[in-house]
């Protein structure tokens, strides 16, 4: 697959840009990443979208397309932007921030990426799926079987790793020992050691 990736690092920050001669979509982050809840529970998402129509993008978190939930219409809002404060549900609010779509035709400069941050997903495995359609004119509708045609959909997985103490409660005064301790660690991948 002829996907050109350019990476620049200054020791602290990193930026990447992608280019391809055919429409291609690849979720690079998360990639089975383990996110510790006690260390912030923030998932960074990075996807390469060369020659993918930005107006067609769907960004699904555990099957839910968050783009319309954010009040965005990618078909009319083509400029890169930022948005915050989306909640998946009142019981388990998930924050979305720094959602930025950078995309351009092949003859224009662009990093061709989708980036966003998800906060508060909680424990267990979470599926971040991004899908779209090709830019108009980027590849013929009918190609020979020898041509590689990407399905323009990819899924990344983030594993939330957390442990919660249920008893005793914070500040509780236990009359005497032994102390009944109940807790539950949870993750998206097995074998906590």
């Amino acid at each position: 697959m002829p996907l050109l990736r350019v990476t620049v690092q200054d020791g602290l920050n990193k930026a990447q840009a992608f280019a391809s001669i055919i429409p291609y979509l690849d979720v690079l982050e998360p990639n089975g990443t383990v996110i510790s809840e006690s260390q912030g529970d923030v998932v960074s998402v990075l996807a390469a979208i060369p020659l993918v129509a930005p107006g067609s993008l769907k960004i699904k978190v555990n099957g839910t397309d968050i783009v319309p939930l954010l009040g965005l219409n990618p078909a009319t809002r083509s400029r890169a932007g930022r948005t915050t404060a989306w909640s998946c549900s009142a019981a388990n609010p998930v924050g979305v921030s720094d959602l930025i779509v950078r995309s351009a035709p092949i003859h224009q400069l662009s990093s061709n990426t989708v980036t966003l941050r998800l906060e508060g997903l909680g424990c267990g495995a979470h599926l971040i799926t991004i899908e779209g359609t090709k830019r108009v004119g980027s590849i013929p509708n009918e190609v020979t079987p020898d041509c590689l045609v990407d399905d323009l959909m990819d899924t990344g997985t983030a594993n939330g790793f957390a442990i919660h103490i249920f008893t005793p409660a914070p500040g509780e005064q236990v009359a005497s020992g032994p102390v009944h301790v109940t807790a539950r660690p949870a993750t998206g991948c097995p074998s906590p050691a």
């Binding site: 383990v34 510790s36 809840e37 006690s38 260390q39 555990n62 099957g63 839910t64 424990c123 267990g124 495995a125 979470h126 599926l127 997985t157 594993n159 790793f161 957390a162 442990i163 919660h164 103490i165 005793p168 409660a169 914070p170 500040g171 509780e172 005064q173 236990v174 009359a175 005497s176 020992g177 032994p178 102390v179 009944h180 301790v181 109940t182 807790a183 539950r184 660690p185 949870a186 993750t187 998206g188 991948c189 097995p190 074998s191 906590p192 050691a193």
Partner: protein, 168 residues
């Protein structure tokens, strides 16, 4: 997996598979243990320790989990076993809450004085420090009829002149 250095059996892991579209896999491990309380008298007498126990009084419960890739997560809280005396070194904020509204107002006034340092009052304009003094005088005043009249007299005092005498 450990709770206050007490190793916990991890053989009871439960896998809840996801459908791969809207839910992912979740592996959890129910923990239900009884942690003993140390016998401090015995420890002092025999010069021994008992790791993996709680002490009488305040305790910090620290639960930590490490996965197969050495990712770490934790939770912690403070609780007590048996009665405990109020901590003498509690935070200023909690002390203010305990003392009540009166002390809180005084604290806020002190803050305003610190901010006002170095400011020069405009002619005929009251300085914040004088506002504080007046309020403190008012609070420190007695209960006689002269003290009740005091605020009216203070309202007429403006500018950077000599502060009024403190009522005794």
């Amino acid at each position: 997996m450990s709770i206050n250095t007490l190793d916990v059996d991890v053989s009871g892991q439960v896998l809840t598979p996801g459908d791969g579209v809207t839910t992912g896999d979740v592996v959890h491990l129910p923990i239900d243990v009884h942690v003993p309380v140390a016998d401090l008298r015995n420890e002092f007498d025999n010069n021994t320790g008992s790791p993996g126990t709680f002490d009488p009084g305040s305790n910090r419960l620290f639960a930590q989990a490490v996965d197969g890739q050495f990712n770490t997560t934790y939770d912690n809280l403070i609780f007590s076993v048996g009665p405990v005396a109020p901590a003498p070194g509690s935070s200023l904020a909690s002390q203010v809450q305990q003392v009540g509204r009166h002390a809180a107002e005084v604290t806020l006034n002190n803050v305003s004085v610190e901010v006002a340092k170095g400011l020069h009052p405009r002619p005929g304009h009251q300085r914040p420090g004088e506002v504080l003094r007046e309020r403190l005088y008012h609070r420190g005043a007695g209960h006689g009829p002269e003290d009740r009249e005091r605020p009216q007299g203070l309202q007429g005092h403006q500018g950077g002149g000599t502060p009024p005498a403190i009522p005794t």
